[in-house]
Symmetry: C2
Subunit: 418 residues, 2 copies
């Protein structure tokens, strides 16, 4: 395997920076975030010029329109990135918070204090705004960040990093706190996934392929983000008008995101009334429906759903539909096909509402609300570095606290172990 000196160099620099970042005052960090926001807008010409080169190259390579749009920067988008940094300034600094302290019988005071993770690695795809987001959240929490973006956005990412890292440094942040890798080689990413001596955690952000590759190859602890095969179950005791609004919202308000609904489950008792009515609106909104035989009978002309459909996160205006005989069947379907992201029940029945929230194993379970709320801002965290679909460390939307760990601080007066 080739070794990339850039990685070792930047890894070491990040580790060194992290040693000092953890004790940087909130004042210095916030001043740096403000300077980063200011400079992003002040130096946008250089960033837009670099981005134009990326976009042109991507166009020539034949990237899809959706990907080109994700890649494109505009003055408006740069302004939004700057505003994002200013929003982070306003959040309370979690570092130094004592989350628990107790006095042991021998007089030893044992406290748990919130400290940064250290060095956070981010592997992501073609969205340059992730560069700014991740850098801002990591700086606020006293972590050094090592960014590895996709090759399509490399010029944009390096131009952004140049601007924000210099601004941070001038404000008193140690060099090495914010770094982007210049090499976008796949083997370099593989090497990064094994840099346990420099990285404390790796957060992949992107499609299922990227995340699976990181999960399979990384020896650095990973926080798995993103895949959401989300269900809404419409119970026979549901307010059907409410159910309709929620279904429309969860499928169509922004279909390309992980908390959008992918499968609609409907109890047989209400399917005859509910499905034709909701289908009409969905079809009007250009949603393609794929249903079980009973759904197809109720919504003439739609395609029959395969097992594959029920297992797919479409991230598109496509919805799988299934009529279920019982509440238990809905639970079993979710258990079998769900990815543990966001699941909802629409019902007015107390017992099934309670059972659903207790028995469905997911990062977020909803009663009578859209799955689209699984989001750091919507949950009130004030920020989001991603949505964890694993169970260790963080589950669901990750805000500033999820970028921290704890240290036990023990104050004694000569205690020894008996």
């Amino acid at each position: 395997m080739t070794s990339f000196p850039e990685l070792l160099l930047k890894g070491k620099k990040a580790k060194d920076a992290a040693y000092f970042l953890g004790n940087l005052s909130s004042q210095v960090k916030d001043k740096a975030l403000e300077a980063m926001a200011f400079e992003l807008e002040a130096k946008q010409e250089a960033i837009l010029a670099a981005n134009a080169l990326d976009v042109e190259a991507a166009r020539q390579k034949g990237l899809s329109k959706a990907l080109l749009d994700r890649l494109l920067l505009t003055p408006k988008r740069i302004e939004e990135m700057a505003e994002g940094l200013m929003a982070v300034v306003c959040l309370p600094d979690p570092i130094g918070e004592m989350t628990h302290q107790c006095r042991r019988p021998n007089g030893l005071d044992v406290g748990r204090i919130r400290v940064p993770l250290g060095v956070v690695g981010i592997i992501y795809e073609a969205r340059p705004n992730v560069t700014v987001d991740a850098a801002g959240l990591c700086l606020k929490t006293g972590n050094a960040v090592l960014l590895r973006g996709g090759s399509e956005a490399i010029r944009s990412n390096l131009a952004i990093t140049q601007v924000i890292a210099s601004a941070a440094e001038e404000a008193g942040v140690p060099a090495g706190a914010i770094q982007t890798l210049e090499t976008t080689d796949r083997e370099a990413a593989q090497q990064m996934m094994r840099m346990n001596e420099f990285l404390d955690v790796l957060i992949p952000r992107g499609g299922a392929g990227l995340i699976q590759s990181v999960l399979k190859n990384s020896t650095v602890p990973v926080i798995e983000t993103g895949v959401g095969n989300c269900h809404i179950y419409v119970d026979y005791c549901a307010d059907l008008q409410m159910a309709e609004n929620i279904v429309i919202n969860a499928k169509t308000q922004r279909p390309g995101v992980c908390n959008a609904m992918e499968t609609l489950l409907v109890h047989k008792n209400v399917a005859g009334k509910f499905l034709p009515q909701v289908a009409r609106r969905l079809l009007q909104l250009d949603v393609e429906l794929r249903g079980c035989p009973r759904s197809v009978a109720l919504i003439p002309g739609i395609q029959e759903a395969t097992d594959e459909d029920y297992a797919t996160e479409f991230l598109d205006l496509i919805l799988a539909v299934k009529v279920v005989d019982t509440f238990e069947e809905a639970l079993e379907h979710i258990r079998f096909y769900g990815t543990g992201h966001s699941e909802a029940i629409i019902t007015n029945d107390y017992q099934r509402a309670r059972n659903f929230t207790r028995r469905v194993d997911a990062a977020a379970v909803y009663v009578n609300a859209s799955t689209r709320f699984t989001d750091g801002f919507q949950f009130g965290l004030g920020a989001e570095i991603g949505i964890s679909t694993q169970k260790l460390h963080a589950r669901g939307p990750m805000g500033l606290n999820e970028l921290t760990t704890v240290k036990h601080v023990c104050y004694g007066s000569g205690q020894v172990r008996e």
Copy 2:
């Protein structure tokens, strides 16, 4: 790679059990723990007989005396294991605790509720008591456990599992909640490390070799436990009598454990007075000292320490010693050689005490106390499944809470995303 049907079978069974375990009442779980404790003692003959076979085989294979002792079970030790289970009964059940709830501006109530991790895999070495400990703590927290012990203890582990799993099942715990793998094949362990579809977390317990192997090979999220190259720094403002007691305790009270001190750092201003005095007591207690040139000059006859010595977790009556010129040099030494487990300063200087606790990056940092307190019981957790030396999910002693994760439960009245 060979595939082991036993793993898939038991993995699936564990996953199925976990689905029900999360909603088992505390009453049932505690009754089961009591039954397990009772049956362990009632059926100890079968366990002791199996253990005798393990011990005999190990003796013939020429296992060291220390390992044989770890493997050996006696009626007294079985009684202790049963007492351990009864102690877990007395702990509060963490499952179902709402750790945070807020009402969002749109009226959605978002709460975080504590739930089990799911299926916990434990890979461990020749200590049969881990089987009971881990099973008890996992059951209390509603997790299914899949145990993979060392080949030396396989008969003992299977006999123990047979007894406790039956007792639990009779008390209403789903089958599959407590299982031990019969195959102790290395390849089976490798396969277990990649059973992401069945395991939510893997906790290795044993020596550095085992832990490194799991870290390098597992795709299942791992909690790293154990390695502790712990330091005590005796400052020039230390109470030297206190320092001596703490050093003796941290090195000799139980040298084979991860929170024992491995290197003693002494400020040059007090080295002349402190080192000869503490060395006398350490040598009397059969501690072998390895020192820097200045230490050797003060403690005639001791061996010179190598870089290797400073990097080694001896887990034995061996202590590396170094005289440092400054507080900063002590910090740098700890930063370079430390493993982030437990580090202590002995001083009466406020500023250095504060700086030490802020700047040393470890699971536990101490002022004027022995490093030996880094332990779930000593920290008041009431239990311990291991000591995490990583930063994700858990850091330091892990008790019941560290065997849980959260689920976001959202109660709405028709909320949709704007």
